[in-house]
Symmetry: C2
Subunit: 151 residues, 2 copies
Amino acid sequence: MVNIIHRVGIKAPLQKVYEAVASTEGISGWWTKDTTGKPGLGQSIIVRFHSPEGREIGSMEMEVSTPENHKVHWKILSGPQEWIGTEVTFDLHQEEDYTIVIFGHKNWREEVEFKAHCSMKWAIFMLSLKQLVETGKGKPSPGDIKIDNWN
Amino acid sequence: MVNIIHRVGIKAPLQKVYEAVASTEGISGWWTKDTTGKPGLGQSIIVRFHSPEGREIGSMEMEVSTPENHKVHWKILSGPQEWIGTEVTFDLHQEEDYTIVIFGHKNWREEVEFKAHCSMKWAIFMLSLKQLVETGKGKPSPGDIKIDNWN
């Protein structure tokens, strides 16, 4: 099983973190500004990424659901070929004054270089999520930190 | 196989990146200031981490070698129990004006929460490595970005 798993701790109530990963508005505050659609089974959220110059560099469509308390699940419906069949998960729990996020991007078919790029980018976006919830201001695309020649 | 793999691109000649991951002085510029010892087979480099208040929060000893051209290998000799038997690898190649680093921390026995923490911290340190090589100033411990209640 080829997975990306990151742990991040956010100094905020769990409910605030939950809303940031399970709602259209929340996601637009840390992942990409161009986030539209609706969460829920049978619905979908569409995210589009643009270069700082405004060129579209990628998009994904996903079904956002909450299979259990404190768990948020994104099922990838369309996007980069390597992402099809993968799932993105957020497992939340509280430790003292932190909400701990166990972030997963799971079930990649192969250990490809694009996965290594996404691993690094997800860490950058987890920092952005932490900043959004703790300070009110994240760094969603196209204002995200660039980490290599791909993005 | 439980691995952490990140891809980062650094706008600098390959040799500069190589020196930053294969030498004592280089490592002290992006991972932890308290780096001593020598690289090479049969030698070891020791890294110690301190809290911002000066308390030691961890240390590792490793053999740093270069099994092939453009590859740097850290064999973990001592450190956190979960790190024993793991290896850290840096595979470098050039793409246009970037040196691409495929960073690996490989052969974890289990998908433990500590590994998810390390995955996030390694991404932070890859950013620090990128900053060091591109600007001359990284963010080694204890000046590293904190990402959760563990560090």
